[in-house]
């Protein structure tokens, strides 16, 4: 197992370096060059010149990259001229709220998708299977923002059951103080994920149903429910670990949209605002952090999987 994990860690280090190189390249592609992009459109030419000299943007590219990595290692992500705050403090303020949203939606998705997928596998090619398959096709063919707005139309505008807006507040505690406002954003993000996960669960449960251990359990006289819960469920849970790791970038993209639909004060809303005012320090700082977090996340998923499933280590 150790060589497998060591190889995965080595790969992850190169991928993290790759992410920083990509962001560094984007920084240099920005209109007017990096200094102009980092200082904002209202900086004077003299300020830009001084910034270039002070921060070494007139030095060779590899030295600039070294400086950039040095800043990253110190946790210095730059300064947002739009918010007049360091990117670090913006991140510290808004990232936890997005983690809450995404985390809750994963909990809901897994809790719903696993039983749905197993139900479909057991009732394979029956009306319930066709109905759920149809529903999941519609689920992942919907633009996220349209889904969110339709939920608002039904549950907030027509039925008045739930607020149309996400909870407002600067801290996770304040958000949790208004749980009703969380329901629609979490539901929007979950529906898309459930659509993907349940399809996956259905396939992997169908694969598992024909395995020898299921047949053995059945022929030993175990009741169908016991077979499902004690054997099938456990073995079908494993791929979900990988699936969460794989789906993270897509879910985070969905979170950006969901947050802007519900005006949910997380990282996604901040990024969207940053994009509309061309606040590049925020955009690039968050890209690096989210990219690295994704790499670490999928590394953890792979390591967990290798710990849980001995077959992977020797593959």
């Amino acid at each position: 197992m150790i060589p497998y994990i060591a190889r995965r860690i080595a790969q992850a280090i190169f991928v993290v370096l790759g992410v920083t190189i990509i962001v560094f390249i984007i920084l240099h592609l920005l209109p007017g060059g990096p200094a102009r992009a980092l200082l904002g459109p209202r900086a004077t030419d003299q300020q830009v010149q001084e910034f270039i000299v002070a921060n070494g943007y007139n030095k060779p590219v590899w030295i600039q990259y070294g400086t950039y990595i040095g800043h990253l290692l110190q946790g210095n992500l730059g300064y947002s001229y739009h918010y007049n705050q360091t990117v670090d403090s913006l991140l510290a303020q808004d990232l936890p709220k997005s983690v809450l949203l995404v985390g809750l939606s994963y909990v809901v998705s897994v809790a719903v998708a696993i039983p749905l997928g197993i139900l479909q596998a057991v009732r394979r090619n029956k009306p319930i299977d066709y109905t759920l398959t149809g529903a999941s096709f519609i689920g992942y063919s919907m633009p996220v923002f349209w889904l969110g707005i339709l939920l608002v139309l039904v549950f907030a505008v027509d039925l008045h059951w739930l607020p149309p807006e996400g909870p407002q507040g600067t801290s996770v505690g304040a958000i949790l103080g208004h749980p009703a406002g969380l329901i629609l954003p979490v539901a929007t993000l979950s529906i898309i994920t459930i659509a993907q996960f349940s399809r996956f669960m259905r396939s992997s449960a169908i694969d598992n149903l024909v395995q020898d251990y299921i047949r053995t359990a059945r022929s030993n006289g175990l009741s169908p429910t016991a077979v499902l819960f004690r054997h099938l469920l456990r073995n079908s849970l494993l791929p979900i670990i990988t699936l969460i790791g794989l789906s993270l970038p897509a879910t985070l993209s969905g979170a950006v949209i969901t947050e802007s639909v519900f005006n949910y004060p997380g990282m996604g809303l901040l990024l969207w605002t940053a994009a509309t005012v061309r606040d590049y320090p925020v955009l690039l700082g968050f890209t690096v952090v989210v990219g690295i977090a994704t790499v670490v996340g999928s590394l953890l998923a792979d390591v967990l999987y290798a710990v849980a499933d001995p077959r992977v280590r020797y593959a």
Partner: protein, 305 residues
């Protein structure tokens, strides 16, 4: 937005029976026959054919002015003159649906083709050459995949003015990665095959081996990935338009129409919210049906070997 696809086991679709008369030379006919047995795939093809006719032939029959705004005719409900009403600047919604569909479909197809060509080249070279080059090329793919694609697209769309060609390029930039991975994987196994080794021994140049022996054998995988890419590209274009980074008016696309209509959800203008949304969902579902069916058909071919 579905970048994660389920493993290739048991579709709920019709039982795929392999026609008995299929010979060795009729690979494509066999795939086509298995494909046609899949009812969902036929429905998908029907929807795409309808959408193409609707968007590209429709405007030749149903003439509307989609350039000049008409402030005397804003947000009119559906009537004989405007079957789907008018939007907030007086454009006829049915006509705009055709025009918007043109750019949604064009962006979807073009981005998928560009991404497939680039992803195939990248994956085939990485897999065929192997060693350090392979490791570096695949870490590049991993790195781009690690960044949420909406962020990459968001940043690129702020740098370049979002015209249709720019959006095609930007969307292709994030959708070639899956193709590259799949093609690399298959190339790794193909390059150990006898016919590739024979070609090598005969002194055929590597470039020619990739073009003549590797790519034709992974074309099925490429086509399946490309079909899903079209669906993803249409959704991504819609998301970008919602975020205000789509092609600016008077250009239209379904996502832009939809996000524009969403400003009026409290006014009850349902004809601004549903037609464009349904058009997107139908088209994306159709491509997903076709992609699934193609993958199944291809598996049957693999089982035949």
């Amino acid at each position: 937005m579905a970048l994660v696809r389920e493993p290739d086991a048991g579709r709920p679709v019709t039982g795929t029976q392999v026609p008995a008369e299929a010979g060795a030379g009729s690979m494509w006919r066999l795939i086509w026959q298995v494909f046609l047995q899949n009812r969902l795939a036929v429905v998908g093809l029907g929807i795409i054919a309808f959408m193409i006719l609707f968007c590209f032939v429709g405007p030749l029959i149903y003439h509307t002015n989609q350039v000049q705004i008409d402030i005397m005719q804003v947000t009119q409900p559906p009537s004989m003159r405007h079957p789907l009403g008018t939007d907030n600047v007086g454009y006829d919604v049915l006509g705009r649906l055709m025009l918007g569909g043109q750019s949604s479909l064009e962006v979807g197809f073009a981005a998928a083709i560009l991404a497939s060509v680039w992803g195939t080249a990248w994956g085939a070279v990485a897999g065929y050459v192997g060693g350090w080059l392979d490791a570096v090329m695949m870490r590049v793919v991993d790195s781009i995949l690690a960044i949420p694609y909406l962020l990459v697209v968001l940043i690129l769309a702020t740098i370049f003015t979002p015209t249709v060609p720019v959006l095609i390029f930007v969307i292709a930039m994030v959708s070639w990665l899956v193709t590259a991975r799949l093609v690399r994987g298959e190339t790794l196994s193909l390059k150990a095959r006898d016919y590739v080794l024979a070609a090598k021994a005969a002194g055929v140049r590597d470039r020619w081996i990739i073009v003549r022996h590797v790519v034709p054998n992974v074309i099925g995988t490429i086509v399946v990935a490309a079909t899903f890419s079209v669906a993803d590209a249409i959704l991504l274009l819609a998301a970008l338009s919602y975020l205000g980074l789509g092609p600016p008016p008077p250009a239209a696309n379904w996502g832009g129409m939809l996000s524009n209509g969403l400003n009026y959800i409290y006014d009850g203008y349902w004809w601004l919210i549903y037609p464009a949304g349904i058009a997107i969902v139908l088209t994306v579902i159709a491509f997903n049906f076709i992609g699934d069916a193609l993958r199944d058909a291809l598996e049957v071919r693999l089982q035949q070997r």
